[in-house]
């Protein structure tokens, strides 16, 4: 899931300062699940903005809407009839969704209502943790199901660096050393031989280093 966090309300207020009529768009996808961009958050944020602007003597009209997903054109289309009547769209979907709206409605300014986080998992209610960086070349079968690209602060590929202290990363004691986790797991699984089977060097061209990526599935086109 793509995670995100709320933007400070002052920042959003500054963003919407020039406008009197807005659409506030949530998304029923990942951001609903991680509780920053669902229908409830749309209502809460809209009420907050209205109250603040009311108090400042500059009322703001907000149209509240929640799309099934902001990253699929069919769902985004549902906004088309609406956007013309408003000055801007404030989206609390992830960065992908916001950009997609911007692309589809070139005449309308798009404002981000949240900060998009990472590809992660729900550790427990209210805690999320990063698990994947989308490097485009997965080797989890060799590393005990623990990703060195994500879990090691330096994305090292051949074991821990000198900063690994008692199982913790030197960046922050709260971060477990990814390589410690990998070695512990490989040992527990009896797969330490995998440690020697890692690639001599990781090709980063399939990752972000090769520039913005796209996927084309000929079979689906």
């Amino acid at each position: 899931m793509i995670t995100g966090t709320e933007k400070p309300i002052e920042e959003i207020l500054a963003m919407v300062e020039p406008y009197q009529r807005l659409i506030l768009a949530g998304c029923h996808g990942c951001v609903t699940v991680c509780r920053v961009g669902g229908a409830k958050e749309v209502q809460v944020l809209a009420s907050t903005l209205r109250l603040a602007r009311e108090a400042a003597g500059r009322p703001l009209e907000i149209h509240e809407v929640s799309l099934e997903r902001q990253c699929d054109p069919e769902y985004v289309e549902k906004l088309r009839g609406l956007v013309g009547g408003y000055q801007a769209v404030l989206s609390i979907a992830c960065g992908a969704g916001i950009q997609f709206l911007a692309e589809k409605f070139p005449a309308t300014p798009l404002l981000p209502g949240i900060n998009t986080g990472f590809l992660g998992v729900t550790v427990r209610q209210g805690e999320w943790s990063e698990r994947c960086q989308g490097c485009g070349d997965c080797i989890l079968h060799l590393t005990g199901g623990i990703c060195p690209v994500t879990r090691c602060a330096k994305s090292l590929f051949h074991g821990p660096c000198g900063g690994s202290v008692r199982g913790s990363c030197e960046v922050d004691k709260e971060i477990p050393c990814g390589w410690q986790l990998i070695i512990d797991r490989l040992e527990a699984l009896g797969q330490m031989e995998n440690y020697g089977r890692l690639k001599p060097c990781k090709g980063w061209s399939s990752a972000r280093d090769g520039g913005p990526r796209r996927i084309i599935r000929e079979d689906m086109l």
Binding site: H28, G29, T32, V33, C34, R35, G38, A39, K40, E41, Q43, S66, T122, Q125
Partner: protein, 1233 residues
């Protein structure tokens, strides 16, 4: 019991009489009534609730006692199968089990309980605060009935001197001392809100007495002429009126609010107004309003006061010291010591432990059920001298009858539950602590009232002596417990925990408080108690192991010096600002007397005797016992026992269940036509004058008529009274109302009543809403009537909007399977299976092992020394002989689905096959294991054994011990230890003492040393502990952090080195055997917990639904537990729980169908994002993600708490009448106009 029934040959009566309306009696009553048994609940005091209602918070969860008990009060009060007989006593019981005749007297309250609405106006109007001195002849209220018919209101203004020979002549009649009461400044006559006095020319005798009485020179009079009052200079003090001789009665009163009711009511009305006007002038001197004189003469009929130039003159010997003049004085000018010569006798409020005063007519406490006042016949002026009668004049429903008499009746019942409760030790008997002498020494129950938000100080911790906030407070434990010198040798079980709790809560109220608790042993033996005490010490509660020898008061400061010996034997003195005595609990004399009347055997302390393995059965068949009258115990144990006693009492009545129960039939519901116009009826309640004296109810009613959809509005005096309910029913039909709104008091207490009226009128009960214009309006805005009226309009408008937005909701019914699944065949499971079978249900008893008996198969003797194997064998044979019990030995429950009333379980058979069974409830009794940590060579060396091993060894014919064995017992071996079991196992101390006594029985020459941390021999087990010390067992205390024992064990023997704190020296013990008290540990319960979808606590035991009030209920509906699966406990305690769990299950299984609440969460699958938020947020674990990829909430399991609705990020969940639609309607209405 069963045999007694068979012998009589007569069918039993399907009713049970419960003695005592405390938490025990209430729980028994509810469990019986919910299982179809008619209940007569007899309570001595005027209201149910008992001791628990007096408590502030409860350990170990710090739940507010009143908040958790008041729903039970309401439920008992409203239950159709419970007949509440408060202010009543059981006089005699004839007959035998199954067919008793009980003689019950209900003492007169002087209030008609059916008419009274509990508005409390009588208590507000009563001016008497002290026990008056009545004339000798009238001391007994029964002998002196009022001279005139009691039902007439007090004298009307036209004939002010209605009573012969009283009042009228003021101070001129009779002699005695006259005392002048004067302030620092002369009286400033105020004519504020004054009454108008005129002279009736035709009646005036021209005597001139009024002229002389008037201090304002307002009465003009010439000898031989009639008097005349100059209204310009009259201040309305009433001196002329009081002075006018009775035979003339020539002074007339007008412009007096409420005078049409009576003088008493009028005085109160004016006093209220003056109090508001002169709020700033309190204590600044007399304002010569004359209310004191009028009250004394015209209300009390005494005439001991007279207004004089300098102030007020009192005939101190004539004064009856009732306090009426003081209580009506709006500026606090008078005091009772000044007006009377005899000592004042304050009427102490017993519910607040005498910390404040009450009136002769009073409601026991604000949340009382029934919320009906009682008149105290000893102190009421009307009942004794015939004067006053103010309360009857203010009562709007005519509920007060001064001539009402008590009523005696015969009641036929099949069984009796005896639970009269406890009283507290009289701390005066320990004079060295200064209770009753030093004002700042209080008892623990008084301290509870000080902590209580509804107590005499509204929750402020202040010293009774001077009202100051104390900083250092000391608790002294075991006052009237563990004390042979005052014949209280037993332990009261609860004091250690309540003292710690009071200390914690006191610090919550005021962080400056430094609490210290002086104790002997910290007996925190219950579930989660030790961790509570640990948390308390972290939060600043200081624990000192010492018994205080004396308390000395500093007469100037009121501070208290405590003297004690510290752990090193050094004398210490320490000064505290307040001392709380942790008083023990005992059987009240009245309960002892009643036990004698009922022919129930008791012990020397008055506790009811029972067999440990028949813990609910008294010596008289058909009478069962529960609660503290059987031995000191805390609330959850009492609740468990109460359920168990209910089960035991109904066991012989299963065949006649439902025969005397009440059932109501409702008319069919009128469906609303689509598009039917709103027709709203609005009822604005006066609540006597509770609301109407502040809020202009007529204006609110007029306003309500203007609201959209409202077709009818009126303002009844009491909307909740029986006749108003009848009227609402008629109006619903007459005006075809389809919504009803009541603007009155609290929905918490009254919504069910109105809803049932709607149902009886064929209207869906959810077409109703309530606005609370009393508690939230008139009571809190008494000084701003205009704003209060505006607020009442707005609250009413919102309720109308909400009712308009209401939808018809329906409660679904579903059939109940009456079979019970019992998992676990130990003593709890076996007891439960037999009890449930006797209740008439089919039982599936599943035991994993190939034999019944559980852990007790390993024990040779029971708690009372009985042969355990024989006892278990008896149970086994009974189970095998009972055709209603299907036994599954060597089997396990592997899967479970369904919900309360309709469960389906799969049982894995020894063959490997599975079998599916259907049942309505589950009783979990899978037990615990003996803890056997590898400590000191346990399990390896023959010289190291566990306490259970030791008990068995002592039963062997020739134990492998020398002739004079030396045994060392180590308590808490692997218990209360973060490395092993962090909790206390509760049973080990008693087990060690019992085994020790048995050891000395067999080896009188042997030596036994017990190394302990705290001897937790709670309740009556303290007597055994005492016996053990006297028998010569050596107890050595250790603290792991201070003097841990050094233990060396080998195959040849053992050696222990320890510093004995009692002598302050190291000692060396050599022994043949080391016995470890290792405690109990939970079984691997995770799988079971996940299958039943209920939580286990961190320590591995199952969590109960509520630590205090639902001790045998699991958090899932229809799931119950008993025995050590809940927490460590003894076999008798497990038996009690087993029968309690059956009682709880019977309340479900005895029904043909169950009703699901209409207020349940519903998921709209089209919006569900399957985010799992509801699944994680639900405290009851109800929502699941189903095969259709959407969240699903089973309405039979949903508790309607609304948490998921608030949390759902996709707004896909809604909850009955609490929808966004409702809330938005209210908000929109709030902002409109």
């Amino acid at each position: 019991m069963t045999s007694a029934l068979q012998s009589s040959g007569q069918p039993p009566t399907g009713a049970v009489l419960v003695v005592g309306g405390g938490i025990s009696g209430m729980q028994s009553a509810l469990d019986l009534a919910n299982a179809g048994i008619k209940v007569y609940l007899v309570e001595r005091s005027p209201a149910i609730g008992g001791r628990m209602a007096q408590l502030d918070k409860t350990f170990p969860t710090n739940d507010c006692a009143m908040c958790i008990v008041s729903p039970k009060l309401v439920e008992v009060g409203r239950h159709a199968n419970i007949e509440l007989l408060t202010h009543s006593e059981l006089l005699a019981l004839d007959g035998e089990a199954g067919n008793f005749q009980a003689r019950v007297v209900s003492h007169s309250r002087y209030i008609d309980i059916d008419r009274c609405t509990g508005c409390g106006l009588c208590e507000l109007a009563c001016p008497v605060s002290h026990q008056p001195y009545f004339p000798e002849s009238a001391e007994s209220p029964q002998s002196a009935q009022p001279a005139e018919p009691a039902e007439q209101p007090a004298s009307a203004p036209a004939s002010p001197a209605g009573r012969e020979g009283r009042g009228g002549k003021g101070g001129r009649r009779g002699g005695g001392e006259k005392r002048l009461i004067r302030g620092n400044t002369p009286p400033r006559a105020s004519g504020h809100e004054h009454w108008h006095f005129t002279v009736a020319a035709d009646a005036c005798g021209a005597c001139g007495i009024c002229h002389r009485a008037c201090l304002q020179q307002a009465v003009r009079w010439q000898k031989g002429e009639r008097a005349d009052i100059d209204q310009e200079s009259c201040t309305g003090c009433g001196a002329c009126w009081v002075a006018c001789p009775e035979k003339f009665s020539a002074i007339r009163v007008s412009a007096a609010t409420e005078m049409e009711k009576g003088v008493g009511a009028a005085v109160q009305a004016r006093a209220r107004l003056l109090r508001r006007e002169f709020a700033e002038a309190r204590g600044l001197g007399c304002i010569r309003c004359g209310l004191c004189v009028v009250t004394c003469a015209r209300v009390m009929g005494v005439g001991a006061l007279r207004l004089v130039e300098e102030g007020v003159e009192a005939l101190v010997d004539r004064c009856q010291v009732c306090g009426a003049c003081v209580s009506v004085c709006p500026v606090d000018f008078l005091s009772l010591e000044q007006v009377g010569s005899r000592p004042a006798r304050p009427l102490h409020n017993a519910f607040n432990e005498g910390l404040n005063l009450r009136r002769p007519v009073n409601i026991l406490y604000p949340q009382a059920v029934p919320r009906v006042p009682t008149i105290d016949p000893l102190s009421c002026v009307r009942l004794n001298s015939g004067a006053c009668g103010t309360c009857a004049t203010v009562c709007g429903t005519g509920a007060i009858h001064y001539r009402a008499e008590g009523r005696e009746r015969q009641i036929r019942v099949g069984a009796v539950v005896f639970s009269p409760g406890l009283e507290l030790f009289d701390a005066r008997r320990r004079g060295e602590f200064g209770y009753g002498i030093s004002a700042n020494v209080v008892t623990s129950i008084e301290f509870e009232r000080l902590l209580s938000a509804s107590g005499p100080t509204a929750g402020a911790v202040t010293r009774p002596g001077d009202g100051r906030h104390p900083r250092k407070i000391a608790w002294i434990q075991c006052v009237g417990s563990r004390d042979e010198s005052c014949d209280r040798a037993y332990c009261s079980s609860v004091c250690c925990m309540y003292a710690v709790k009071e200390a914690v809560i006191a610090r919550e109220h005021d962080a400056a408080i430094e609490p210290t608790i002086f104790f002997i042993d910290m007996r925190s033996f219950g579930k989660n108690f030790d961790s509570y005490v640990a948390r308390a010490t972290e939060q600043g509660v200081r624990l000192v192991r010492a018994m205080v020898s004396r308390v000395f008061e500093d007469p100037l400061s009121g501070d208290l010096e405590l003297r004690y010996l510290d752990a090193n034997g050094q004398r210490q003195r320490e000064v505290f600002e307040m001392v709380v005595l942790s008083v023990g609990i005992q059987v009240p004399p009245a309960a002892r007397a009643l036990a004698d009347t009922l022919h129930i055997a008791t012990d020397r302390y008055g506790f009811v005797r029972t067999d440990p393995y028949q813990p609910l059965t008294t010596s008289r068949p058909g009478i069962f016992v529960s609660g503290a009258v059987k031995g000191p115990k805390d609330i959850p144990e009492t609740v468990g026992e109460a359920s168990a006693a209910a089960e035991a009492a109904s066991s012989g009545l299963a065949a006649v269940r439902g025969s005397l129960a009440t059932s109501t039939t409702l008319p069919p519901e009128r469906p609303l036509a689509s598009g039917e116009d709103l027709r709203i009826g609005v009822f604005i309640c006066h609540c006597g004058s509770n609301i109407a004296s502040v809020v202009d109810v007529a204006a609110v009613t007029e306003y309500a008529r203007s609201l959209p959809g409202v077709v009818y509005a009126e303002h009844p005096l009491y909307t909740c009274s029986q006749d108003s309910q009848e009227r609402i029913r008629a109006l619903i039909g007459e005006h075809r109302l389809n919504r009803v709104v009541a603007a009155a008091c609290s929905p918490r207490t009254h919504e069910p009543l109105f809803m049932s009226t709607l149902q009886q009128s064929g209207l869906n009960k959810f077409f109703f809403d309530m606005a609370n214009i009393r508690d939230q309006c008139s009571w809190v805005h008494a000084d701003s009537p205009e704003e209060a009226t505006a607020k009442a309009k707005r609250l009413t408008r919102m309720a109308v909007a909400n009712a308009a937005a209401g939808e018809a909701l329906h409660e679904q019914e579903f059939a109940v399977d009456s079979r019970l699944l019992v998992i676990g065949g130990g003593i709890a499971g076996m007891t439960a299976a037999l009890a449930a079978a006797r209740q008439g249900f089919v039982v599936y008893l599943v035991e994993r092992e190939s034999e019944l008996g559980g852990r007790l198969r390993a024990a040779s003797r029971g708690n009372d020394g009985r042969d355990m194997a024989g006892y278990l064998q008896g149970l086994r044979q009974e189970i095998e002989a009972d055709s209603r019990i299907r036994l599954f030995l060597g089997c396990e429950v592997v899967a479970q689905s369904g919900f309360v009333g309709a469960f389906e379980s799969e049982i894995a058979m020894p063959s490997g096959a599975t079998r599916t069974i259907h049942h309505g409830a589950v009783l979990l009794a899978t037990g615990a294991d003996e803890n056997r940590p590898p400590l000191h060579g346990l399990g390896e060396l023959a010289t190291v054994v566990s306490q259970t091993d030791f008990g068995n060894l002592l039963e062997e014919a020739s134990p492998p011990l020398p002739e004079r064995p030396q045994v060392v017992v180590l308590q808490c071996a692997g218990s209360r230890d973060p490395d092993h079991l962090p909790y206390c196992s509760r049973v080990c101390c008693n087990q060690a003492v019992r085994n020790g006594l048995r050891f000395l029985e067999r080896y009188p020459q042997g030596r036994l040393d017990i190394l302990y941390r705290d001897m937790r021999c709670y309740g009556l087990a303290e007597l055994d502990y005492r016996r053990a010390r006297q028998a010569g067992i050596n107890f050595i205390r250790f603290d792991p952090a201070v003097n841990p024992p050094q233990i060396t064990t080998s195959a040849d023997g053992i050696e222990v080195l320890i510093v004995d704190p009692s002598v302050g020296q190291p000692v060396r013990l050599l022994g043949d055997l080391l016995v470890l008290s290792t405690g109990m540990r939970p079984r691997q319960n995770e799988e079971l917990a996940s299958m039943l979808r209920v939580p286990c606590a961190a320590d591995g035991f199952f969590l109960e639904a509520h630590a205090k009030l639902r001790p045998v209920d699991l958090p899932g509906e229809g799931l119950f537990m008993a025995g050590t699966v809940h927490a460590p406990k003894s076999a008798p305690e497990s038996i009690v729980q087993a029968r309690a769990a059956v009682a709880r299950a019977t309340t479900l299984l005895s029904r043909k169908s169950l009703t699901m609440s209409a207020i349940v969460s519903r998921v709209d699958p089209t919006n569900c994002a399957v985010c799992l938020t509801c699944v994680r947020a639900c405290p009851y674990g109800v929502p699941v993600i189903n095969d259709e990829h959407t969240a699903e909430i089973n309405p039979a399991l949903c508790q309607g708490c609304g948490i998921c609705v608030a949390e759902c990020p996709a707004k896909a969940i809604s909850l009955g009448r609490y929808d966004d639609r409702n809330i938005e309607a209210k908000i929109a209405s709030f902002g409109s106009h």
